[in-house]
């Protein structure tokens, strides 16, 4: 039985290559083999969203993807998401994190929302982050942070 599979991908704009064990999840490939640590491992059940990344521009949970199934895809993690300055500022201003464990996944999901819908309502924001859990339950300030990033301080 062949034990490793050659995986090629573009990670945050750079071509990368790794030998993946078939048992390895994409999030483990990113963190352990490619040493890019911003993406978190939370539940490994697809519930928490701490491992949220973009694959070919679509928001995905990288614990639900086998590393071996990646084949030349464009993968972006929190380190490589463009245009998140306003989100970063707003998360600081609104105190959109407590322990910070969910933050990278929240910001990837929020950036995806704002790219597709630059002016979301609070309900649309809640729906967009409904696949991301905050174990500190700091949702109000996270929603406000995303709202501020989209609309500014008023509203």
């Amino acid at each position: 039985m062949k034990r490793t599979i050659e995986v090629r991908l573009t990670l945050n704009g750079e071509p990368r290559f790794a030998e993946a064990d078939p048992r390895q999840l994409l999030v483990e490939l990113i963190r352990d083999a490619l040493d890019v640590k911003g993406t978190r491992i939370g539940c490994l059940t697809g519930d928490c969203g701490a491992c949220t990344v973009l694959i070919d521009g679509e928001v995905r949970k990288s614990c639900l993807v086998l590393a071996a199934s990646i084949s030349g895809n464009d993968v972006r993690t929190i380190e490589g998401i463009e245009g998140i300055e306003a989100l970063r500022e707003a998360f600081i201003v609104e105190n959109g994190f407590q322990c910070g464990f969910c933050t990278s996944g929240m910001i990837v999901a929020a950036a995806d929302l704002l790219k597709n819908n630059p002016s979301p309502s609070r309900d649309e924001i809640r729906r967009a982050i409904s696949g991301n859990l905050c174990r500190c339950t700091g949702y109000e300030s996270i929603v406000e942070a995303i709202h501020r990033a989209a609309h500014g301080a008023i509203g």
Binding site: M1, V59, S71, G131
Partner: protein, 286 residues
């Protein structure tokens, strides 16, 4: 890292995929979107010796012909939501997909075919597909066969798919008689799996008919088509009461899991069936 060793296959053609499945049969699992199988493997709940990914086969087209809407088994919920064909020709499916939980990442990754194949009683797809009288296309090295929804969902986590078959597509019959339809899931919290789902529709063709499917309450979706007359449509109270009793009979033994036990689910059924039948039959919400 998944705990057990397995061999990963990503065949380039359906023939190759069927060949692998014929060879490995029960020692193989077919990987669709991965939202259930991959975490089950991470938790050592599923331990196939061979994993056959359908990712390279396409199988994600949505197409219309004279009689059916064809949905590739690998079509994600996001593609269903974005499809004008689904919105127009399968409004019940569109309504169900709107209520899928888990956020954008699950919509982008979860597939209708995967959900149907997994046949978790506490899920959206089985009840909705039963109500639409969907037809399941099962492919193997022996050929293709088609199975109606009422025969496809055999039991909890069990379908009519044989060990060497791959679900390659779902057909939804085109229906010019559809007047109104509703899908609603009842759940414990915003992101919960469903406790009970109701899918119902009113049709006016040669006869007036009502289709009703209750999901998540029993081990498999409970489905029945009722033929009614115009007088019943004008004064539907008695019919609605009888349909609710009939639905509970069809549900049978309630489905129990960590979210809710079977008695609780059964207790919910009559009220929600009556609510949605009334809404579809009279156009009034309650």
């Amino acid at each position: 890292m998944i705990g057990h060793h397995f061999e990963f296959h990503q065949p380039a053609t359906l023939d190759d995929a069927c060949g692998l499945l014929t060879r490995f049969r029960d020692d193989a699992s077919v990987l669709g979107g991965g939202t259930m199988l991959v975490p089950s493997m991470s938790a050592n709940l599923a331990q196939p010796g061979h994993l056959i990914s359908l990712a390279a086969l396409g199988l994600n087209e949505i197409a219309l012909d004279d009689t059916h809407l064809h949905i590739g088994a690998m079509t994600t919920y996001a593609r269903l939501l974005a499809s004008p064909l689904v919105a127009t020709h399968a409004p019940l499916l569109a309504a169900m997909t709107m209520q899928v939980t888990g956020g954008a990442s699950i919509l982008n990754q979860g597939t209708l075919g995967g959900s149907a194949s997994f046949a978790n009683p506490s899920s959206d797809a089985p009840g909705c597909l039963a109500a639409m009288e969907a037809i399941f296309e099962l492919s193997s090295s022996r050929g293709v066969r088609h199975v109606a929804a009422c025969d496809f969902f055999v039991d909890a986590f069990s379908t009519a798919r044989r060990a060497d078959e791959i679900l390659t597509g779902i057909r939804v019959p085109r229906d010019a008689t559809l007047v109104a339809c509703e899908y609603q899931k009842y759940k414990a919290s915003a992101s919960s799996w469903p406790i009970v789902t109701v899918a119902c529709s009113l049709h006016r063709g040669e006869h007036v008919s009502v289709r009703l499917a209750v999901g998540a309450a029993g081990r498999r979706p409970a489905y029945r088509r009722f033929v009614i007359d115009e007088a019943t449509l004008r004064a539907p109270d008695a019919f609605i009461e009888q349909a609710a009793i009939s639905a509970l009979d069809l549900v049978g033994v309630g489905w129990s899991d960590e979210l809710a036990d079977g008695n609780y689910r059964r207790a919910i059924v009559p009220g929600v069936v009556k609510r949605h039948l009334r809404s579809v039959l009279t156009g009034t919400k309650s």
